[in-house]
């Protein structure tokens, strides 16, 4: 029989996480004997729409994509449905008027990630119930879905403890350089001692760690650092005692996605929402986990 053809539109290659995600999907497709049409949207929704349209024109068997942003997918998804091509969402959800426009969504829940980070901090704060903790936040790119959701989830949880105060929040654009730069500025502002840093991704946390060290402080001790993603670099930092915890956001969706695609094309019923297994990795388990990290 003809091999299954899948069109996949990726957001871009802006971070390690994303690259790992791409690699996983490509590998899995190869292993599964699925022909993968891969298109990189370079962070632009319009490019993704273009890619989807050309997948439709090519009459692929199934379309999968990681939406750049939640809204704005109605029209093109309708075209896909008209062409009878099932659509699978990965990594991020979309908001459409008619939920039947996509078959299923597999991926992480950014709000939940923020909550997990918040919960870890709540637990941590219990060790010294009376101390006020002054938190600074390094946000992702302003307006991007992970930045908005991770902030939302985190704030939702820490609101329950009045001792936890978010004093500063600034965008570090998800990059090391910006994370470092912003952290430098935070550290110089001597109005309040910084106790906790919450970074929306590991890259910014790693940049901030450098800034903290250069300020003569001990990251992970003088300042507690929480971040999200769980890339290899974060585990190395944890092993070195410079990072306290990272919330995993699993990019290795490939195998699951391929299986799902086969099921969908074969007409098997699938769940509407498939969450990937994602853990929270505090520094204590880092050494044990590090060898298992693939990216």
């Amino acid at each position: 029989a003809q091999p299954l053809v899948m069109g996949f539109s990726q957001v871009g290659a802006e971070s390690e996480w994303r690259t790992a995600n791409t690699a996983s999907i490509k590998d899995a497709a190869k292993k599964d004997g699925i022909t993968l049409k891969f298109a990189d949207a370079q962070q632009k929704q319009e490019n993704q729409v273009k890619a989807l349209r050309s997948f439709i024109a090519q009459k692929v068997d199934v379309i999968a994509f990681s939406p750049v942003v939640e809204s704005g997918w109605d029209t093109v998804l309708r075209e896909a449905r008209a062409a009878k091509i099932p659509v699978i969402l990965t990594d991020r959800a979309v908001s459409v008027s008619d939920p039947s426009l996509y078959v299923t969504f597999i991926g992480s829940d950014f709000v939940e990630e923020g909550r997990k980070a918040g919960r870890w901090l709540l637990d941590f704060a219990k060790k010294a119930p009376n101390a006020e903790l002054n938190i600074v936040e390094l946000q992702g790119t302003v307006g991007s879905a992970p930045a908005i959701d991770r902030k939302k989830g985190f704030e939702e949880i820490i609101a329950s403890n009045p001792k936890l105060k978010l004093s500063r929040s600034q965008s570090g654009d998800f990059t090391r350089a910006k994370g470092k730069e912003v952290m430098e500025a935070f550290l110089k502002a001597k109005d309040k001692k910084i106790d906790v840093l919450y970074a929306h991704n590991d890259d910014m946390a790693i940049g901030a760690i450098q800034a903290i060290e250069e300020a003569g402080l001990k990251p992970g001790k003088d300042i507690i650092i929480i971040s999200i993603d769980g890339v290899k670099g974060a585990f190395e930092a944890m092993v070195a005692g410079k990072l306290n915890v990272t919330v995993e956001c699993n990019p290795l969706l490939g195998p699951q996605l391929m299986q799902l695609a086969r099921d969908v094309v074969a007409g098997k019923p699938v769940a509407r929402r498939i969450t990937t297994t994602e853990g929270v990795f505090p520094a204590e388990v880092a050494a044990k986990e590090l060898p298992n990290r693939r990216y």
Binding site: A13, E14, E16, A177, K180, D203, G216
Partner: protein, 349 residues
């Protein structure tokens, strides 16, 4: 020709500022005055609203404080602006600066992390940057492509090349000597600052001791007349693109060394826009011919101080852009002779 317009005898309005700088030779008329004033104003805001902004401490036997941070951070931008200044002076533009930063930084960091000697790594980074410059120069000066499109090619492809080197990964470097360039200190000051000063002095020296500055200006203002006067216009234009890439390459090394990693995805992203902004804030004209190395440096400092101020003041990130835009508008308007006239007229009423 276009660039010549501002001072053409038939240009009533624009002729005046040029002359006024010449005749009121005092401090008031100096072309660097306005960018300096803008910088001073920003620093004044910092002084008033950010406690301890100017405080310097000694930490680990080097200076430590906000001002040092700004200088350190501005270093790559200053370098990029330095190269961009010359390109813009010839009426060109180079939008590939960010990509060149990514290429040189990535290559050097990659080599260091795979245990090549530091010298080799740095040389390779610079070599790659020079190659990029040669490419740009050949397209603009050799083929006569329009600068923006010629450099756009490298802007798009260059970052791809850099990512190809790393497979899109951010590769962390664990080799302390490599950190010295972008993060080390010499005589208590950041090494990056010395790099920038050296580069600036070299360029300023070239401008003063050789006829380079004169030729660049002439070519920027009137390329036809320059060619007829016997200036090697093509060679000159080629040179400025190579020089610009070299500066960008050096900036790339500083950045890679500072963040201790090869980040092909994001290093130097949009640096070209900031560099162009720095040049214009410093009084350089995109129509060619008018440039000031020191002005561009001040422009870079304005940008970095502004960024830092936004962070330190705790401006919410969603407002950043509006603040930045407003400051740029204000600085530009303050440099406009026409605006000053209007102001005066309103004042005298």
């Amino acid at each position: 020709m276009h660039a010549a317009l501002p001072t053409s005898p038939s240009s009533p309005a624009a002729g005046t500022p040029m002359l006024s700088t010449r005749f009121s030779q005092g401090l008031m008329g100096h072309p660097l005055l306005r960018p300096l004033a803008a910088l001073a104003l920003l620093l004044l805001i910092d002084l008033c609203f950010i406690p301890g902004f100017f405080r310097l401490e000694i930490k680990d036997s080097h200076l430590y404080g906000s001002v040092i941070d700004i200088l350190n951070r501005a270093a790559p931008l200053m370098l990029a602006a330095l190269g961009m200044t010359l390109v813009i002076a010839t009426r060109g533009i180079d939008v590939s600066v960010g990509a060149v930063v990514a290429i040189s930084g990535t290559l050097a960091a990659l080599l260091v992390s795979s245990h090549a000697s530091l010298a080799l790594a740095l040389a390779a980074g610079m070599g790659a940057a020079l190659l990029c410059g040669t490419w740009n120069g050949a397209l603009v000066a050799g083929l006569g492509l329009q600068p923006i499109i010629a450099t756009l090619i490298l802007m798009v492809a260059g970052r791809g090349l850099a990512q190809l080197l790393t497979d899109g990964q951010i590769i962390t470097v664990y080799d302390p000597p490599f950190f010295y360039l972008g993060g080390g200190y010499l005589l208590g000051l950041p090494v990056a600052l010395f790099v920038v000063t050296a580069m600036f002095s070299l360029t300023a020296w070239l401008m003063r001791k050789t006829a380079l500055g004169l030729f660049i200006q002439a070519v920027g203002i009137n390329p036809v007349a320059s060619r007829l006067a016997g200036i090697r216009t093509a060679a000159l234009i080629f040179f400025v693109y190579v020089f610009c890439s070299a500066c960008a390459g050096l900036a790339g090394l500083l950045i890679a060394s500072n963040i201790k990693s090869a980040d092909a995805n994001n290093a130097g992203l949009l640096l070209e826009l900031d560099a162009i902004l720095a040049v214009t804030l410093g009084g350089g004209s995109l129509a060619g011919g008018k440039f000031s190395l020191a002005g561009s440096f001040i422009g870079a400092l304005i940008i970095q101080t502004l960024t830092y101020t936004i962070y330190a003041l705790g401006v919410p990130p969603e407002v950043n852009m509006v603040v930045k835009a407003s400051v740029v508008f204000v600085v530009c308007l303050s440099q406009s002779a026409e605006f000053k006239q209007l102001w005066r007229r309103l004042g005298s009423r």
